[in-house]
């Protein structure tokens, strides 16, 4: 009798702990996507010239970016001009498209840390403004979550501090990550955007994206 009472008390104590463990795990799993989205929104909202970096160069939780990208349609432009080379890990462009609902910060160089902040351009691919293949990638669960919405004919604009460049989607692509055929240099000016192909079990070896041809190239003259 006494031992069954003891057992009953132990069960009563363990049950809420067990319920807590199950609920906490489920909440943590469900919170991953909203947390990634919220972080991405904050990164996008604060990618402007009004910020400054913390003295130690890193900030807990939220990343601060300082850039001189100009998004002003009224500035005078020319079809020729000079590119301004960014530093590694510097945000040097903003990618926008009517087909994508968000503006995406684009960084120069690629690493796991930079991929957390925005889309990354491979520094061995052509810089915006020069002729060749500009290759930009990002994570499928954050900045390029809407890449699959792009269709042939959609326009994409990339704005930098030295000009803006407009492309039109010409091809939807899918390739194995070991296959570099879409990432190699080209003689024509094009933009290649890609990300991981997702399936139910997570990211696969396949990559998916778009190839775009350049339709407008404008350098700021002021």
């Amino acid at each position: 009798m006494a031992s069954s009472k003891k057992t009953s008390i132990i069960i009563k104590i363990i049950t809420p702990i067990f319920i807590f463990a199950i609920c906490a795990v489920i909440v943590a799993i469900l919170a991953i996507k909203p947390y990634n989205k919220a972080s991405m929104y904050l990164d996008i909202a604060f990618m402007d010239t009004l910020k400054t970096q913390a003295n130690d160069g890193s900030v807990a939780g939220l990343t601060i970016k300082e850039n001189e990208i100009i998004e002003d349609d009224s500035l005078s432009t020319s079809d020729t001009g000079e590119v301004i080379w960014p530093a590694f890990a510097e945000q040097y462009a903003v990618l926008k498209s009517d087909a994508l609902e968000l503006s995406i910060p684009v960084y120069w160089g690629i690493s796991s840390e930079i991929l957390e902040k925005g889309a990354c351009q491979q520094s061995d691919s052509t810089i915006l403004g020069n002729n060749g293949n500009t290759v930009i990638s990002a994570h499928v669960n954050t900045f390029f979550s809407d890449l699959g919405k792009l269709k042939v004919g959609d326009k994409i604009t990339l704005t930098t501090k030295y000009g803006y460049f407009t492309y039109e989607v010409t091809e939807l692509i899918e390739f194995n990550k070991k296959d570099k055929k879409y990432l190699i240099p080209t003689t024509d000016s094009r933009l290649t955007l890609y990300t991981c192909k997702n399936d139910i079990l997570g990211a696969t070896e396949m990559r998916t994206g778009v190839v775009c041809k350049q339709i407008e190239k404008k350098f700021y003259t002021q």
Binding site: I11, K12, T15, P16, F18, I19, F20, I22, C23, A24, I26, V27, Y41, I44, A45, F46, M47, D48, L50, K51, T52, Q53, A54, V59, A60, G61, L62, I64, L100, E101, L102, S103
Partner: protein, 291 residues
Amino acid sequence: MRKSVSFIISAIISILLVFLVIGETAVRCAVSFSDEKWIIEIIDEKEISTKVKKSLEKNFNDKYNSTGIPADVYMNSLSDEWVSNTVHGYISNGMNYLSGKNDVYKFGPDFTSLNKNIEKFFIEYAEANNFEKDSVFEKKVASTQKNAVSTIKNYCDVAKMDKLYSEGILPQARKYVIFVNKPIIEISVIALLIIFIAILIILNRKNIELIFYWAGSILIVSSAILLIPTIYLKATRYFDAFVIKQEQIYITFTSLMYKAVDTVFTAAVVYGIAGIVFIAVNGIISLKKNK
């Protein structure tokens, strides 16, 4: 029904009720936070408009050496009331768009007085120094007006509504906010809460102390799940690490975030205390039964 089966079913229902309690807290918070009043209260409490005006004055004073334009040219058109109305206007416009009260995001402060002051300054300067008022002069006036308007807008938009809208975030967030604000959502959550609580009561009607036990467990678990992240955010002063050049935007952003965290924290504490009370009642009834 056997006691053990009833206990297991009650445990499963408790897990569902924990999510419903957390869900109702989230919906209630989202509904409250989509109203502009709470942001405007913080703006007024922290005297943000005064800080905006001081920051603008400092900005124009700092730029005097390079522009040659005294700060008074700009500041004479920016009364305390104008600045306050503009700061509030950005918040109201943004929140009304976000919550679905307005279908269009459009807010344009009146810069007539500012533009006139700048033009007057340039005309007087040109006349005093015999400068020709040619197309270069007109361009200079226009670009000065444009830069001033842009600077003042950036400073007054303390919650960065313009930026959030132009980068597509406000329209995206709007979809979720409008969905959550639909009365049917909260009614559904409350209805489910009532149904599952009723099932729990029916299952344990012969052992009334167990009803208090399950109620207490549900509230304590809900409290713990909400407390862990809120205590972490408060203890580490998480949002203070966000370094922003402009004091008013920094204060607005961090105040809003901490207010949201404090609201959830308070709800979690209330659940925790209620849960402990229910467990205590369960204990008292069990003791009396055993005597």
